[in-house]
Symmetry: C2
Subunit: 200 residues, 2 copies
């Protein structure tokens, strides 16, 4: 793209274009919207980003994101530590929490096994999961992974690895649409799939 605005503006456009859902053209539109609303949108967003950058950290227990470590879910004594829900990403934790029907704890893998993308077990937080389940408190592991090839491969691999612990491993019922991503499901579907969970 030819330079058409000053370097400060071009840099803003280039960085905005890297956000998922935005490209070079929509990045320019976003930059223009920000620059037109410098006081009402650009300044608050810059501040929110700086705050998030300074405060948000990865929970060392579950791998989720929060301003505290352990995160609010891990630190909440009223939640059921015997139920451990394994998810692909932090976005899935947010989706489950919006559903509001799960009162246990989470374990964020940080991705899925993928032969195509060369993602092996050591790239994910699977060792931490095995150690956590081996700790004794967990009475059931619920795999809330997408119903895709990579999701199911990961589910089977985890079920195998956890077999030695004798802790029952379940997975979300086939209420999850095939090929669907947990982050995009409506709350009702998540609640239904959670109720109808079955042995892996």
């Amino acid at each position: 793209m030819a330079a058409s605005a000053g370097p400060e503006i071009e840099r803003l456009i280039a960085l905005l274009s890297k956000l998922p859902g935005l490209g070079p053209r929509s990045g320019r539109r976003a930059a223009l919207a920000l620059l037109k609303k410098r006081d009402t949108l650009l300044a608050p967003l810059a501040l929110a980003m700086a705050e998030a950058q300074a405060k948000v950290r990865t929970c060392s227990t579950c791998g989720s994101l929060d301003v505290t470590d352990p995160c609010a879910v891990c630190a909440d004594g009223s939640r059921d530590g015997r139920l451990l829900c394994v998810v692909e990403e932090v976005g899935s934790v947010w989706a489950m929490e919006r559903g509001g029907s799960f009162k246990g704890r989470y374990h964020v893998l940080g991705g899925l096994l993928s032969a195509l993308d060369g993602v092996g077990p050591e790239a994910l937080r699977i060792g931490e999961l095995v150690a956590r389940v081996g700790g004794g408190e967990v009475a059931e592991v619920i795999l809330a992974l997408p119903a895709t090839v990579d999701g199911q491969t990961t589910a089977h691999y985890i079920a195998d690895r956890l077999a030695q612990t004798n802790v029952p491993v379940t997975m979300l019922a086939r209420g999850v649409p095939v090929g669907g991503d947990l982050d995009w499901l409506d709350d009702g579907t998540i609640a239904q799939a959670l109720r109808a969970r079955r042995p892996a």
Copy 2:
């Protein structure tokens, strides 16, 4: 949307969702992408936004955005001050500059006349345009406004207002697709429409 992450993260999501092209769901995905890449994406973007907020200002001559006032185009003595191109928004200036075939100066209206949205002449920089053209240097006013109802209404209104100055007013040729927005055009179409401009 139910709170599912901490208030810092929810605030970031809410502000990102206000960007054009993003909604509540894609705002969450953008926030997640930023929080996963805190050092490589979130920090540089927060910095770029803070810099833009501190440095970028509206040019008091043409109404465009730049880190200097007058902007780089208005301050560039090698550009032809006799040609004045009137555009709807700063995005149109960027689009014209990417095309690279225009070597005159700009006047940004800041919108279009719209009976439906209640935008009258006083809401736009039309008074400034008349004063600027009356100043004597301008030898031709080129209206580069979208080929929409509001764009053409605005073009006719401006042509009427400038009739008293005896400066010729032209408009971009019908190379601009009807209903199209200047910001989304390819450079070749812009160059062609500029060459074939005709009296308003």
